[in-house]
């Protein structure tokens, strides 16, 4: 009964077998979770943060949730909205040693942290579909990542946070609506938006921007925050060989996490994250490949 109106448009039985990981449960993540839960989609909710009073105007939490972990508070609320769905929670920050907690049919990045976004990118690269979202003030952005996040962000990124600059809840709910719709289309193999969608809800402007990964010819080294670097090479990497050469912290499917001087996350499709290092060391390591 509860799905009767949705069922006229989408294959709800197929959706109910799917699980989506949402990383970051602030304004974007909490609205996205709400929309997916109401469509019967199982959720894997991740956030290290707790609800604060400042969150209440732009996120879906209530006063009773203040001081609770966002993932736990959201699970309780989603279970009330739709008791049929399965929900897993992680009250911690995504870490390179534990990327397999992202295992699901689709990952949606709703975080405000570029380093975490690139970690998601390294895990999902050419393997798991994922959606990048961002929002600030009255501007929202949604992109189904076709290749790599480095196609969007080619250099060091200046970070603006909602804590500092604010966000209005209609920005978040609109971005969440676009992301949730794209998620459903991906899960149902209905074809998804290839362009980067970017809007300003205050000015009523809506841009669809083409992204052409072929324009990127060379390997890119991108400095993330906290002295981490991401590199996407245009070649496959032999994980078996690398795991013999270095101390292995994790090896799962096409992901290898090793410890050299510092921790390195390697996706066999040619995507690498270097943690706590400098550009010289990154280049030296790449030459040794």
């Amino acid at each position: 009964m509860q799905y009767n109106r949705i069922r006229k448009i989408i294959d709800i039985e197929k959706l109910r077998k799917k699980t989506v990981s949402i990383v970051g449960l602030g304004s974007l993540g909490s609205f996205t979770a709400l929309l997916l839960a109401k469509n019967g989609i199982n959720l894997n909710l991740m956030d290290f943060d707790r609800v604060s009073v400042e969150n209440l105007s732009s996120q879906i939490y209530s006063r009773d949730d203040v001081k609770r972990f966002k993932a736990d508070a959201l699970k309780k609320y989603m279970k009330k909205l739709n008791p049929e769905i399965k929900i897993k929670t992680q009250n911690k920050k995504l870490d390179s040693s534990d990327l397999s907690i992202l295992d699901s049919d689709l990952v949606i990045d709703c975080t405000d942290d570029m380093e975490t976004r690139f970690l998601i990118d390294s895990y999902c690269y050419k393997k798991v579909p994922w959606i990048h979202t961002a929002a600030l003030k009255t501007i929202g952005l949604v992109y189904v990542v076709e290749n790599s996040l480095s196609d969007l962000y080619p250099s060091i990124i200046s970070l603006d946070s909602c804590d500092e600059h604010g966000i209005i809840n209609s920005t978040a709910s609109m971005a969440a609506s676009i992301a949730a719709t794209q998620a459903i289309k991906i899960l149902l193999n209905e074809g998804h938006e290839k362009d980067l969608i970017r809007f300003n809800i205050w000015n009523n402007t809506f841009d669809r921007i083409r992204v052409n990964p072929e324009k990127r010819k060379e390997a890119r080294i991108i400095k993330l925050c906290r002295n981490s670097y991401s590199v996407s090479l245009k070649k496959k990497l032999n994980l078996n060989m690398l795991s013999k050469k270095y101390k292995t912290l994790l090896k799962k499917d096409n992901i290898l996490v090793i410890k050299d001087k510092n921790r390195i996350v390697i996706n066999s499709n040619g995507y690498i994250i270097f943690e706590d290092t400098n550009e010289g060391e990154v280049k030296e390591w790449l030459r040794s490949l």
């Binding site: 929002a135 990124i157 600059h165």
Partner: protein
């Protein structure tokens, strides 16, 4: 002339330049703060320009 829009300053301006890098220097735009869109396509900084191109410097947003 290239039609240029800088979102951060909500500024629209027509400029003559051979490539995007030259415009960024002229307008003092920090490469780390923008994504560059030429004729509705994401574009690298070294891309050459021709008359009637439309260029947008949109602010990188990272909030969630």
């Amino acid at each position: 002339m290239v039609k240029v829009f800088v979102e951060k300053e909500n500024k629209r301006i027509n400029l003559r330049a051979k490539d995007i890098d030259e415009i960024m220097k002229k307008l003092n735009i920090n490469k780390e703060e923008v994504i560059i869109v030429k004729n509705n396509e994401l574009t690298p900084r070294n891309e050459r320009l021709k008359n009637s191109d439309e260029l947008k410097f949109l602010s990188v947003i990272s909030g969630g």
